[in-house]
Amino acid sequence: MKAPHSERQHIIKIIVLSVGVIFILRLFYLQIIDDKYKESANRNVFRYITEFPARGLVYDRNGKLMVYNEATYDLMVVPKDVKDLDTTELCRLIEITKEVFIKRLKKAKGYSSYVPSIFEREISKEMYGFLQEKLYRFPGFYVQARSLRKYPLSIAAHVLGYIGEVSPQKIMNDAYYKPGDYIGISGIEKSYEKELRGKKGLKIKMYDVYNREKGSFRNGMYDTVSVAGKDLITTIDADIQELGEKLMKNKRGSIVAIEPKTGEILAMVSSPTYDPNLLAGHDRSKNYLMLLQNTSEKPLFNRPLLAQYPPGSTFKLLNALVAQQMGVVNDNTRYPCSLGFHMGGVNVKCHAHASPCNLEQSIQHSCNSYYSYTLKAILEKSGYKTTREAFNTWRTIVLSFGLGKKFNDDLCNELSGNIPTAEYYDKLHGKNKWRALSIISLGIGQGEILLTPIQLANFAAIIANKGYYYIPHMVKKIGNEKTIDSRFTTKQIVKVDKKYFDIVLEGMSKSIEAGTGTGARLKNITMAGKTGTAQNPHGEDHSVFVLIAPVENPKIVISVLVENGGWGATWAVPIASLLVEKYLTGKIERVDLEKRISEGVVKY
């Protein structure tokens, strides 16, 4: 017997089945199609905690500490967790106004409600201690330790550079950086950023609904450990650098000292300079603005790399080398000088000295006339059909000295200087309408030629090495790595044969013994040098000097440029000489000279 209405069981079964199907479809949508729930779940639970590695330390070539890290603390905020806040109390603790508080919180929220942002950076140790105890009363806020760069010697600001908050543009281009991160902005902080910064670590921590930490996600399976930055040993000799900065006080200009055998930069002074500590720490932006607005001194301007000057008489050395290489002069070649070079309406003045000079004497006396004749001889050399061809040969050899182009060194920002081209003269005088006499001032390093102080120092290194150089660089050793970048260990050979250097060096030695550079003389140390005067249309000429010591086994070459310093002998020569004394003997015996120079003021 069938119960009445038993067919209705089917309707009921269909209802049950349809509910099951609806639920499974809904689950399919929630769990598989719609992704937003997974993200929300992660936002609920995960906090991504960045571990900032210690930035690498920087030492000088003798192991003296130049840059280290000091612990500092940032007050962080996670806007989502901020609630029941005693705003007034927090404002009082960190010494800001309520308006600032509201503005910052809004900004943090604008970035992300879930991700921590820096609320107040680099709070003092005292404030940190104070805050740490009361922090539990401010949900959503916590303190994150990070480090601050410190410069114990307060020197070499331009060399070391500084770090600062990474720009939004950089964040867009490089996924490594997140807002609030620090990055090297100039100097070796910038050029060795990758080595110094190390690698950030990321920990994924889980939190429950009451914001209590619940440990690592999957036992830290996805966590990464931070890797400390590598320490750098620079090529700088802190003593020389310090002395250089002292000697350049109240003068405008630069010093570059290089170890010629390696291309290692021993000192690089840009004056006026600033205390690098000014650009690290809480008042960084205020100080930066102050330095930037000092338009009369331009302390942020890195002169050794970015200032370009006519090399003046120092360039005669190069012409002496090129002329020998091209076979237009030799050690017996003599040219007359009658207080200058006078030909075809062109007059190049010279000072009174014995005439005519041979090559060696021409360097010793820095004869303008000799080098005007020399350049004329180069450009009118038989065998070349046009001046242009001869000029191009000259230029090719000149360029091989690392001039007119960038070194691609490790200092992140340099200028190329200028060695004019034939095309340039075509434009100036008409195509092929220019002759030797039109560009005769190239002979004495005036005219369109521009060199940076580091190029000048490197040029001196080439003379010291008699024909080769290594790209000047700043870093000797990176962490535990055995080698530095190969471009710094590749010998660059110039297009002048070794044998032609002897006579130039001889002339430069004479210049120290009995010429324009006698002020540099030192007991027991042989030196070769050349003064120069870079013409300055805006005022007193710039004083230039290059020095090589000791001549028989050069350990240091120096270029000194003192803007508006007048004759090389006044400032540039004694500065270079004192640096050589300090570097080669370890001390300064000419205390009075040191005192006079460092206290001297050169108006600019």
């Binding site: 049950v16 509910v19 769990q31 779940a41 609904v209």
Partner: protein, 419 residues
């Protein structure tokens, strides 16, 4: 007439097996939902999963007792059991303990007992007893009134306890009545009513009224213009219009703030994810984050770290969804559907209408719980606090569902004996 040799003879092992799977799966999910490292042991009696294990052990004892009980006991004592439970519902109103806003618990030492869980079972017995009487026809108006009384009494008492969810469960008996011959229009009217209820809240009531009027006019064109039919048409128009207006009235004036809020969340009118919408949103996040195969046992974070409220009781399905993913939660749905179909099948094979009606009562109550509970966690129904049968944490509900089911399994086992 066959004698039962042992208590397990003729037991429906499919239903029993499904029951056991769900109970055990519930237990390990309760463990996962409230898992803390300090109390790793699933048998730790200070934790809810340890307690649940005691409830499960008791439930086994209860089911064994039921299987050993004389088959005539429940049919004989249907009314007394009903009356006792109604008295308990009354008593709990006087001396009960208030938990989360509902006065529905007896506090006996450390132990809390919720009589409303057992009242479903009692009502089911009474209903089966009444409707299975020889001369009863559901079409009779007298029968309807008495049936409404049997069902309405516990509803009223539970409403007074302020436990709307448990009271709503009695709606489930509609299926039983339908099966026993109540006009199918009841189901259609029910669905229409629910649809109109939400429409009335979503759409301006005058627009609905306009649409209804248009439909009525079109119908008027096609029906035969007899007095009776015109009366029906006009009458139903007035009733429906009245319903639409009363929905808004009830919504505005009768429903409590949190009930309004839950309906608003469901309808998408309210999206305050930190306030009233928090539960449902977190529940969907937990389930949705499970993905295809889930995060793995004990790897869920949303429930364990308390983002989901009531994660071991009403929202236990979140843990299943999060840790076992689409695969696991679908399997649970399938298990339930199989259990319901099995119970219906078993009910249909009963020779006594008492057992059949009781069986349908069991299926309806379990099904209603299942629908409302899961629909709530996946955002298809407003939040109504009722447990998921066999899986949710809680002694009272587990025992009540066990008794409900095993009384039926017992009757089914003895179906050939009885008449």
């Amino acid at each position: 007439m066959r004698e039962q040799k042992n208590i397990f003879q003729n037991i429906d092992w499919v239903a029993t097996g499904l029951y056991m799977v769900l109970v055990l799966f519930g237990w390990i999910n309760i463990y996962a939902a409230v898992f803390v490292e300090e109390h790793k042991n699933i048998f730790d009696f200070t934790q809810s999963y340890g307690k649940q294990m005691i409830w499960i052990a008791c439930a086994i004892v209860i089911s064994l007792i039921i299987l050993m009980t004389d088959i005539k006991f429940f049919s004989t004592f249907s009314y007394p059991i009903y009356i006792i439970l109604m008295l308990m519902l009354l008593a709990v109103l006087l001396v009960g303990n208030v938990t989360s806003g509902s006065k529905s618990w007896f506090l006996i030492g450390n132990f809390k007992l919720q009589p409303s869980e057992f009242a479903k079972f009692a009502t089911c017995l009474a209903l089966a007893k009444y409707l299975s009487a020889l001369n009863i026809k559901i079409q009779d108006i007298r029968t309807k009134i008495i049936t409404a009384f049997i069902i309405g009494l516990p509803v009223l008492l539970i409403f007074l306890q302020n436990d709307t969810g448990s009271a709503l469960v009695y709606t489930a008996f509609i299926f039983v009545l339908y099966r026993e011959g109540l006009s199918g229009n009841v189901l259609i009217l029910g669905v229409l009513g629910i649809a109109l209820f939400f429409l009335a809240l979503l759409i301006n009531q005058y627009i609905i009224l306009g649409v209804l009027l248009a439909i009525a006019l079109i119908l008027f064109k096609y029906i035969r213009k007899r007095r009776k039919e015109i009366t029906i048409l006009v009458g139903s128009f007035i009733i429906i219009a009245g319903f639409v207006f009363s929905v808004n009235y009830i919504y505005e004036n009768v429903l409590e703030e949190h009930q309004k809020g839950r309906i608003d969340v469901l309808l998408g009118k309210e999206v305050d994810l930190k306030g009233i919408g928090y539960n449902v949103n977190q529940s969907k996040i937990a389930i949705g984050s499970g993905g295809f195969i889930g995060k793995g046992f004990l790897q869920g974070t949303q429930t364990k770290y308390n983002f989901v409220p009531e994660q071991s009781t009403d929202f236990i399905f979140c843990t299943i969804g999060e840790e076992w993913g689409f695969v696991g939660s679908s399997i649970v749905i399938v298990l339930y559907v199989l259990l319901f179909l099995r119970i219906i099948m078993m009910a249909e094979r009963q020779r006594s209408s008492y057992s059949r009606i009781y069986g349908y009562g069991v299926a309806s109550i379990l099904f209603f719980h299942f629908v409302i509970n899961i629909a709530m966690t996946i955002g298809l129904a407003p939040v109504v606090g009722i447990p998921l049968p066999f899986i949710s944490y809680g002694g009272s509900s587990l025992w009540a569902f066990t008794i409900l089911l095993f009384v039926f399994i017992k009757q089914d086992a003895n179906r050939l004996q009885l008449l």
